[in-house]
Amino acid sequence: MLTIKNLKVKVEGKEILKGVNLSLNEGEIFVLMGPNGSGKSSLASTVIGNPIYEVYDGVISFEGQDMQLMTPDERANKGIYLAFQHPVAIPGVTVREMLLTALRIKNKDKVVSALDLKKTVEREAEKLSLSPELLGRGLNEGFSGGEKKKMEILQMRVLKPKLLIMDEIDSGLDIDAMATIARSVAEMVKEEKMSVLVITHYQRVLNYLNPDKVAVMKDGVIVERGGKEIVDRLEKNGYQLAE
């Protein structure tokens, strides 16, 4: 479903990704690990179409379609969703207002009931143990780190993407919050055949999500591929031995 071939990316003239190859099938959980600064988050930004990341070689295709010329919103409406590492605040815009607009655009002419959406959002918030008070605030306005991550997952649950990219979802989360989020994601994989690209520096989140594929990235390229055994080894020895 997602195929990345020989992807090379620059930011302000500086090479960040130096020929990344990666493929992900429907319903798969792919874990991309690596030390800080290895290019993992840059890959996520490139896939969603952040214009700062300039693709100068290679191909990203999603469901057989080349993404190169698509804007971030077009990619989103194809079914790609990024749970941001540091979601920005949008003062005065509630999550419901944003989702209502997003759903209306996504569903084109189909009517989206504001009332149904309200119920859905409230139900999802409850499942994620997210305080209902936060639903009335501007998006991410004065949210704690954990609340922001949960709000990213809540939006994902409503928008039902085909591909979820989680960028360092486990940073700054306590064990309970992490378990809640992982459970929610696993459910979407099982019930909706959603694919997941997990980008993480740590191993913690993998105690809750069972990966189909694991890769290690370093210096803008993938240096190792395999299965869960890589995670176990990294947990023991750290990134030094991945070279």
Binding site: T71, A76, V88, P91, E97, T101, A102, I105, A114
Partner: protein, 475 residues
């Protein structure tokens, strides 16, 4: 609507608004009196005679005219040098006279009113509608229930005819002719505007509503509004403005005086959407007595230049003044707006929340003043002025002035200038919103703290206008 900006209640639809109507067509109206261009004593005497006014009003007009001639134009604020005062018609009287029923209103006038939503507002149980078509009121209605309570809601011309003693007692007491050059001009040539009188203890409940509209090229509109809320009375007055396009600049110089007596509460909401060549220079002031409350809500979207600084004189102990405003400055527009809060008595409180947006070279200026006089112990004031600049061509300035003559007071001031960040746009786009909708959403979110205080119908209208401006500037 391309998409819903706000999670509206289902009944708050824009139902009857015809999107194709651009409000820039000049309606075909006949005038029975068009006077001549420019101003002299004879024009003023003509206006007064035609209206059959008492002598004291003519004298006020003539005295104000002398003040007008003697005062210099304001040298600060916006540039008014392109207003040619000598080319303006100071009084226009439509050939139709005041109508008693909606059915009697001429079709072209009616069509305009329908397009700007007056009858809809009526259906929505708003208390009364007064529409000002150039210089005379051509349509007015007042719900029976209000007159039974003793509430007066008339045009100023009618008020002067039927209640001269009340008008004489208050006219020009809050905004005297000598206040500034344009207040003097208004006093000299005023015509139309609203008069609201709410007797002691009466809560009007439903908002009183008026629409104003300039319809003739180079027609000055000098309406005069006077609102009196007696002890413990409550009233909400709403005015909305829209104007068709003209080839040369038109001037709107209104004066609004509000008297809020002990424990009374008055709210005054304005949606200003003048066409882009109108000069909108307005003096609005409220006098607030003990424990009285005054709230100005002001949305300024149209006009070439608006200079407007609604004020509250907090004269009685515990009086409260509030100003909520939004300003949109697009291409070739300058919104020079703000508020003045003058604390004369102990434990008075005031709050100013001002939000401005500038885009496509527009210029938004906040100009405000908080004055706390000696003796106003325990006074508190809070000023928040936020500006959002949408591109590099546009500009925002903030000129806050605080004059504090008492020590035991609390004054807070926050001013933030921000831009829609790339990060915010990317975030919303990554959720599926195209760029211009993402930008509109950030803008609407920025305005939300003011919008939520505005009556639903007006919030919808202001949102719609902002979104139209956003769309217009994308293409």
């Amino acid at each position: 609507m391309r998409y819903a900006k706000k999670d509206l209640k289902p009944e708050a639809k824009l139902g009857d608004f015809d999107e194709s109507y651009t409000l820039n067509k000049v309606d075909d109206i006949e005038y029975s009196y068009k006077g001549k261009r420019g101003l002299d004593e004879k024009v003023i005497r003509d206006i007064s005679a035609m209206k059959g006014e008492p002598d004291w009003m003519l004298e006020k007009r003539l005295a104000a005219y002398k003040i007008y001639l003697s005062k210099p134009s304001p040298s600060w604020g916006g540039d008014i040098s392109s207003i040619h005062f000598e080319d303006i018609y100071y009084y226009l009287k439509p050939a139709v006279t005041e109508q008693k029923s909606w059915d009697d209103v001429p079709f072209s006038v009616k069509e305009t009113f329908e397009k700007i939503g007056v009858p809809q507002a009526e259906r929505e149980m708003l208390a009364g509608v007064k529409g000002q078509y150039d210089s005379e009121v051509v349509y007015g209605s007042l719900k029976k229930v209000l007159s039974e309570k003793g509430v007066l809601f008339l045009s100023m011309d009618e008020a002067l005819k039927f209640y001269p003693e009340i008008v004489k007692k208050y006219f020009g007491t809050i905004v005297p002719a000598g206040d500034n050059k344009l207040a003097a001009l208004n006093t000299a040539v005023w015509s139309g505007g609203s008069f609201v009188y709410v007797p002691a203890g009466v809560d009007v409940g439903l908002p009183l509503q008026a629409y104003f509209r300039i319809n003739s090229e180079s027609a000055g509109q000098f309406e005069r509004t006077l609102i009196i809320a007696e002890e413990g009375a409550k009233v909400h007055y709403i005015e909305g403005c829209s104007a068709p396009s003209f080839s040369s600049a038109s001037l709107h110089a209104a004066v609004v005086e509000v008297i809020v007596k002990k424990k009374a509460r008055v709210a005054y909401t304005t949606v200003q959407n003048w066409y882009k060549n109108i000069y909108n220079l307005v003096t609005k002031r409220a006098w607030v007595e003990e424990k009285g409350e005054m709230r100005w809500v002001d949305g300024n979207l149209g006009s070439a230049l608006t200079m407007k600084y609604p004020s509250c004189v907090l004269a009685g102990e515990g009086a409260k003044g509030e100003m909520l405003s939004i300003a949109w400055a697009g291409k070739d527009q300058h919104q020079d707006t703000g508020a003045k809060m003058i604390h004369l008595a102990p434990n008075t409180t005031s709050q100013i929340i001002s939000k401005s947006i500038s885009k496509n070279g527009g210029r938004a200026t906040y100009r405000g003043m908080v004055q706390i006089n000696k003796g106003a112990v325990g006074a508190r004031s809070k000023v928040v002025c936020d500006a959002l600049i949408l591109d590099d061509l546009s500009r925002s300035d903030t000129y806050p002035l605080n004059k504090i003559f008492e020590e035991d007071v609390i004054l807070e001031h926050e001013a933030v200038v921000s831009r829609v960040s790339e990060e915010q746009l990317l975030y919303l786009m990554s959720r599926g919103l195209p760029e211009h909708e993402a930008e509109a959403m950030v803008v609407n979110g920025f305005l939300e703290p003011v919008m939520k205080e505005v009556p639903m119908e007006y919030a919808v209208e202001m949102n719609r206008l902002v979104n139209l401006e956003m769309e217009g500037s994308v293409g």
